[in-house]
């Protein structure tokens, strides 16, 4: 805080402060109180973040001790018998998120390129605005729409057609329930698109204009400029944007819980119901009766935390390499 540096010069960067000549004792006290308050909130944020990790490890210790590494690789989830293996949930989270990215990445990058590079300037604001609105829709509303609109559409149209045409692949076999992995992946893709689009758009806008001018000056078309001069320059930031989307998809809870079917099984078909780490927390936390059960659920939460922190940390560093730390903070 600036208060500490008033004694010194502080001319190196930022504001340079005059020596304290006028301020009396009361001001000095005020400054000290203010500094303490500011630093207190800084340390409160940091300790809450640390407390989050500690609390989750503490509460899941019993499960960690009882199951160890087996927790991650066994698929027996039987609260009555006290058997807990998280594999089906890990699998469901990974597959639904991968499916979501598969659909969302080309669309979002396309939309971001359109908005940052190719669109005439008058269409940019309204489309950006609509995409931002998409990010503001609450998860439970997506879930509601998923149950009553997306799922029936998948069941009556998409899945029968996929089954007839691509049914020789194990991915598209089995009865068309509507609810299941495919529905989860699709609703997730709709939800992560606005994040990936808006961060990628900011990354593209942060690419220096000289990059484009150089390519255009050599006679490249708009698209060639975008591909060779802009996308290549912003590549690490774009990967960061995709990872931010992945982080969202991994932890998304309500919409997925409402459409995935919530069955702890590993099936090859995308038509089959599944379960994710976040959904099992949403469904079973209030019903967990034994300490071990709660502990196992908290351990799933801890896993989710670790995975999303790693993904997001990586994403932030990549985004910062292009735009600097000030960018990508707000979504």
């Amino acid at each position: 805080m600036a208060a500490e540096s008033t004694a010194g010069a502080g001319t190196a960067d930022g504001l340079s402060l005059p020596p304290r000549a006028v301020s009396g004792k009361r001001a000095a006290l005020g400054d000290r109180v203010y500094t303490v308050l500011v630093l207190a909130s800084v340390w409160l944020v940091l300790s809450l973040a640390a407390g989050l990790v500690v609390a989750l490890i503490w509460e899941s210790w019993e499960a960690i001790r009882s199951f160890g590494f087996h927790f991650l690789v066994t698929s027996q989830w039987d609260p009555v018998a006290g058997e807990f293996g998280a594999l089906p949930f890990i699998y469901g989270t990974l597959v639904s998120s991968a499916l979501a990215l598969l659909i969302a990445v080309p669309l979002s990058l396309g939309a971001a390129i359109f908005l940052a590079e190719l669109a005439p300037s008058w269409v940019r604001p309204p489309i950006s605005f609509l995409i931002e609105m998409l990010a503001a829709v609450p998860s439970v509303v997506y879930g509601l729409w998923g149950i009553f609109v997306l799922v029936p559409w998948l069941r009556d149209w998409v899945q029968p057609i996929l089954g007839r045409t691509l049914g020789f692949l194990p991915l598209f076999q089995g009865p068309p329930y509507g609810i299941g992995m495919l529905a989860a992946g699709m609703i997730l893709s709709i939800m992560v698109v606005p994040y990936i689009t808006s961060v990628s758009r900011e990354i593209l806008l942060a690419v220096p204009g000289a990059q484009r001018e150089a390519a255009l000056g050599l006679g490249a078309t708009r698209w060639e400029t975008t591909r060779m001069a802009v996308l290549r320059y912003g590549r690490s930031g774009l990967i960061g944007a995709i990872l931010l989307g992945l982080g969202r998809a991994l932890g998304e809870t309500m919409a997925v819980t409402m459409v995935i079917g919530n069955r702890p099984e590993i099936a090859a078909s995308l038509f089959a119901p599944g379960y994710t780490m976040a959904s099992v927390l949403a469904n079973e936390f209030t019903e967990a009766t034994s300490d071990l059960y709660v502990s196992a659920l908290v351990e799933i939460g801890l896993l989710l935390l670790v995975v999303t922190v790693v993904v997001n940390g990586l994403a932030r560093l990549l985004v910062w390499t292009v735009g600097g730390p000030a960018r990508g903070g707000r979504e």
Binding site: G30, V45, A136, V137, G251, A326, G329, R330
Partner: protein, 279 residues
């Protein structure tokens, strides 16, 4: 490559990216269409003024859930607002080498932590010691989600305040705390309000962190240490229940919720329209 091929590729890619942009906004239109179509017919005055009816009876409202949501948002704001703003001012003005970097990184990573994990945290530090679900636990979980958003927006906005303003204040002999609280923060006010409204819009729709903190309640709230209803929880409960009338109410609730969320987003936009900060 011939120039015709290159021109064709250029046109084709422009077309494809346009198609992507249009396809991306399709779901928004579909969702809105269905919300209006399904929700509007179920909304009436009773919906805003009455408690939910017992199972099997048609009608009733979500008045308690709206009040519960507002109470928990207020609780969250009372944690998220001061901590977020002070932390943001610190990020913008500190000249320390390491701590701001750490705080910024922690805030950005916290912003990506799934909201349900904050729910588990509130469960372990409030619900377990108090031995019951409560509005306090829900407010804590929502407040934690709010902090990083307010913090980072405040930082961005405070950075935009011209140094000349600070220097003018300091030159007149004002102590630094007064410069911060009376000059810098008011100058960045519009932007900070935007950050707060964005955060409120986000937490107003959060469901997952409330499932096992606030729990939900079919009656009026009975104190901050008791389970409390919330609009998103009510929508979730109605959506997965097997009754048609409840589905109808879920749509109506979703329409009300999304209207609240968009009003908050709109307020956020209007606060800073045309100018990044008040100068």
């Amino acid at each position: 490559m011939s120039s015709a091929t290159r021109r064709f590729t250029n046109a084709a890619m422009s077309g494809l990216t346009l198609a992507a942009a249009l396809l991306v906004i399709c779901p928004l239109l579909l969702i809105f269409g269905f919300l209006l179509y399904q929700g509007a017919s179920a909304i009436n005055v009773d919906f805003f003024l009455h408690l939910p009816k017992p199972v099997g009876e048609v009608g009733g409202g979500v008045a308690n859930a709206i009040v519960g949501s507002l109470i928990m948002i207020a609780l969250a704001v009372s944690l998220g607002l001061p901590v977020g703003i002070l932390g943001g001012v610190y990020l913008a003005e500190s000249r320390d080498r390491r701590l701001p970097w750490v705080l910024r990184f922690v805030a950005d990573v916290m912003n990506g932590v799934p909201s349900i994990v904050f729910g588990i945290f509130a469960y372990t530090v409030v619900v377990i010691p108090m031995r019951r679900f409560s509005a306090l636990a829900g407010g804590l979980a929502l407040g934690l989600i709010m902090v990083p958003i307010v913090l980072r927006t405040t930082e961005e906005m405070v950075r935009l305040v011209p140094n000349a303003l600070r220097e003018a204040g300091l030159g007149l002999g004002l102590p630094e705390w007064k410069v911060s609280l009376r000059i810098v923060i008011p100058a960045a006010r519009a932007g900070i309000i935007t950050g707060v409204m964005v955060a409120v819009a986000r937490i107003a729709g959060e469901t997952a962190p409330l499932l096992f903190t606030a729990l939900g309640n079919r009656f009026w709230q009975q104190g901050l240490d008791q389970p409390i209803a919330a609009l998103p929880l009510q929508i979730y409960a109605y959506a997965i229940a097997p009754y048609d009338d409840w589905h109808r109410q879920a749509w109506a609730g979703a329409l009300v919720l999304i209207t609240l969320v968009f009003l908050a987003s709109l307020a956020a936009r209007l606060a800073t329209r045309g100018r990044a900060i008040a100068r």
